[in-house]
Subunit: 132 residues, 2 copies
Amino acid sequence: MGREAVLDVLSHTDQHLSAEDIYMRVHETYPAIGLTSVYRTLDMLVNIGLVYKFDFGDGRARFELAEGPKGKDHHHHLVCTGCGRIVNYRDFIDEEVALLKKTEEGLSKKYNFAITNHLIQFYGLCEGCRKP
Amino acid sequence: MGREAVLDVLSHTDQHLSAEDIYMRVHETYPAIGLTSVYRTLDMLVNIGLVYKFDFGDGRARFELAEGPKGKDHHHHLVCTGCGRIVNYRDFIDEEVALLKKTEEGLSKKYNFAITNHLIQFYGLCEGCRKP
DNA sequence: GTCCATGCAAAAGGTTTGCACAATC
DNA sequence: GATTGTGCAAACCTTTTGCATGGAC
């Protein structure tokens, strides 16, 4: 029950929702489901790889749907440290992914790691936060 | 006092210390300094750019000295999701930095951001955590 | 006296856990 | 009857804040 509700919320947004955001949206449709279940469900979804968990530095985790096997929606994040706005960008992704893949291989060998994931984020101030 | 003590601890380790780790080490030398001051000092040092603050996903922030102007010690992180071990790697750094710079320029223009920082991390399982 | 740094204790905030209860097999 | 999923409340842990004190100028 919780599983579908949470996945449904995540698949119908392009925002970066916190656990509480998700809880509130799920709650609209399933008023019986509590915050605890949302946390437990998210934890499970992250573990099985259906959902990614991010930290953008504001003290709460954000979640988004993992892209499908084709990886068509792969993107990285640009975070405004002023207002917290997050931009999904797909520019340069191909180059980045190529370099990341190469780096992953090198690091795997050298440090004997089974690398499963990477994180790239840029931080800065958006137009609105720079002016004043 | 706190300033020097915290910087001293950070400049004599290659580990990734949490606020409490730093507090404990500072406390050995300056038993009068409390955890609050360590947090306040770290906050200030991060703001003026002398210290970097990282999140490796275990719920507490880690701190390390920002590299000097020459940037000789620039590195990225490889994080074991099993035991939390963190490897500083410098391999591929030049290529990564070159691509990052290019990406930063492109993103700045396209999204009108003043980009101040970036983050690259790889996640995986280290040798010890893969075996069992 | 004013200003700034500080410790202590309490608060805050997000997340996790304990426990009892209901539904399922 | 055992197992599983659940909500509620409490606990937890890191970080922040309020307040009063002490030192520097």
